[in-house]
Symmetry: none
Subunit: 400 residues, 2 copies
């Protein structure tokens, strides 16, 4: 990877515009001989490939299956092995919270305790409505511990999120969760001196929560895990001298974009409203991140046909993105989500870059196997941002 | 490379089984227009390629010719530039010794000394029988120096191996060998304070050996070089949470496998007995390393036809490996040994991975040039283990 400090020196502001389109989990593996991309009809993606430099991109390292965090950070040009996003932060981003450097976030469960023993880690999977009622109780009972603000947020069923906001909040905390039923509740333990105060505050929260819930029959305890602070990460506008806009519908991707300094643009909830937002805000940004979720979600659901349909649906609106006339357009994925596996995978992702400065190759079909023969070859996901900036004329020469 | 500490966190034990077949020195370069693989008929390897993801693998770095140590360490997923195996250790492994962290090993020559001057560094290349007689004299005369156990082992002609075993033995010792005839014998010099004691013990050995051999007419001195301790290297069972079995016939490869924590399975001396051992022990290991030597040894001997025949011989028994039904099978090489060169070379090696999760490409011939068009592209040898683990479902997702 090209080092960040040099990237900061080489990049410069110019009027050119870049659009990075992420079709989440796009890559697949063959199912009855063909991948989702090989099965789907997608004439606009094929035409895009035919006019682009094509290749494949490795999200993190060969054989390594990335989560959404590392997958996106790599696309934004960050070394995903350097900048680790903890589970609590991702969970908080996933429910739409905007976080700052003063936040310590964690995942939480409502649980059932009897005589000091956790007898149900999920409190019988209470309904989300019941969860909302309980979170109101907690929110009313606990607002502040030792000068640190505490906020609780409803999730699905038994799950919720706690965010502790204050000076010097640190992670490096062990899960306050016995992980198994039949064991006593577990205190949060600091892994070192620097997190001792955070551990005390977390433990005070657990105690207060138990008191606030003591009259509940089912959900009378809380288990907290995945403690994480926001990573210290340089912002894209500083790193690349770019104004960046994020056009995403799902909270987690908005959250990731916001972590790296993008402005979140309200996109509504449909692909049409998302395109409309992109068109209306075209003039405002040097760099637009456009995120499409349904290729991934269908892959995760092992819904091969659903993923094929999601590809077709995106294909239909692609001309609306292209007619905006970005100087550089890249279509790629953060990772593969083969429907055959029903999960993220390690397989390299298709990547196509359209720019007047990239040579067009012989690839005319937008598929994994065709792209493996493209002129870009196999690159690392972290190579994509430098290539886009270079094609947009935003990178000065390195050295004399 | 994906860092070891993360690999340790991501890997997990599952019931799936992996077989890594190393056809030593398999790759070649054209001789009269065709490589050994392009000349040989090998229908089973071709069928394997047709059902695999194919590519080429760079053992260490482009242009770098690896020894057997780095070649194999890279295949086992270790950075061959981090873990260096000293010459003495490799020599000791090569004659079948099993070494521990307390061993300091070196290569040794019987030599002829006259009035303090080395007049023949190889003692007239004495016979191996003569060597055995002399090693018996040394073994009887020197068993222990200053609490350190000393053992000498016969090699071929004038060569033998010395192993010093004790607490705190260190390498970092200069060769005790003038390298040229007509110069005085040379003491072993410590490169730093930490190896001063080891140097003293080595020099005491040289002196005692000279005394024990003083009545010999030809071999009346010893020269020691390539001092090395075993490298501190994490074991594969710890790194990958795998039980590993090595199916190799040649001592050096058994030794390398044992260094990284594999269990050595007695394979007899023939390819048939090796296959039989693999079949009989199939249930015992998550990971089987199967080593075939003759592609390399014929290459080293500049025996093009011999290497072609070695490929054919392996091809015949390949179905017996495949019928065992490993979940993931990889066939590759530790380096190329082109018969045209008669030595190891830097050329990338063919690599084919067969697994239900790897996309099959259009490659149907098991040759270097066909493989360069495969879907795996060109990978590093150190990428192979992560890919095999991923395909076997043994790697958790990285990051949330």
């Amino acid at each position: 990877m090209f080092p960040e400090n040099l990237m900061m020196k080489l990049s410069e502001k110019t009027p050119s515009k870049i659009c990075l389109v992420v079709l989440d989990g796009l890559g697949g593996i063959p199912y009855n001989g063909k991948t989702e991309l090989e099965t789907s009809r997608h004439p606009n993606l094929d035409e895009f490939a035919a006019n682009s430099a094509c290749g494949t991109s490795v999200p993190v390292a060969l054989g390594i299956t990335p989560g959404s965090g590392p997958g996106h950070l790599a696309l934004f040009g960050y070394n995903p092995m350097t900048y680790l996003i903890g589970r609590g932060i991702l969970e908080a981003l996933g429910i739409g919270l905007e976080l700052t450097e003063f936040d310590l976030a964690c995942r939480a469960n409502f649980a059932t305790e009897q005589k000091g023993i956790i007898i149900d880690r999920r409190a019988g999977r209470i309904s989300s409505e019941e969860n909302e009622r309980l979170v109101k109780i907690l929110s009313a009972a606990i607002t502040d511990i030792d000068g640190v603000k505490v906020k609780t947020y409803t999730g699905k069923e038994h799950r919720f999120v706690v965010v502790f906001t204050g000076e010097n909040m640190t992670d490096g905390l062990e899960d306050a969760d016995p992980q198994k039923e039949g064991l006593p509740a577990k205190e949060c333990i600091a892994s070192g001196d620097s997190s001792a105060r955070s551990a005390r505050i977390v433990n005070a929260f657990i105690k207060k929560a138990g008191e606030a819930l003591k009259d509940e029959k089912v959900a009378n305890a809380v288990l907290l895990r995945g403690f994480a602070c926001t990573p210290e990460i340089p912002k894209m506008p500083d790193l690349y001298h770019l104004s960046c806009g994020a056009f995403a519908v799902y909270p987690m991707y908005k959250g990731l974009a916001s972590l790296v300094g993008m402005e979140l643009v309200d996109c509504g909830q449909t692909l049409q409203s998302q395109i409309k937002a992109l068109a209306e805000n075209y003039g405002r940004f040097d760099f637009a991140f456009f995120h499409y979720k349904y290729t991934d979600s269908n892959g995760e659901d092992k819904n091969f046909e659903g993923k094929v349909a999601a590809i077709k649906n995106f294909d239909k609106i692609l001309p609306e993105i292209l007619k905006l006339n970005f100087d550089v357009v890249c279509i790629t994925a953060d990772h593969s989500t083969p429907a055959k596996m029903g999960s993220h995978s390690w397989h390299p992702c298709p990547v196509a870059i359209k720019s007047k400065f990239e040579p067009v190759d012989e690839v005319v079909k937008f598929t994994e196997r065709n792209f493996s023969k493209g002129v870009l070859g196999r690159i690392w996901a972290t190579d994509i941002m430098p290539l886009l900036l270079a094609n947009a004329g935003k990178l000065k020469k390195f050295g004399a």
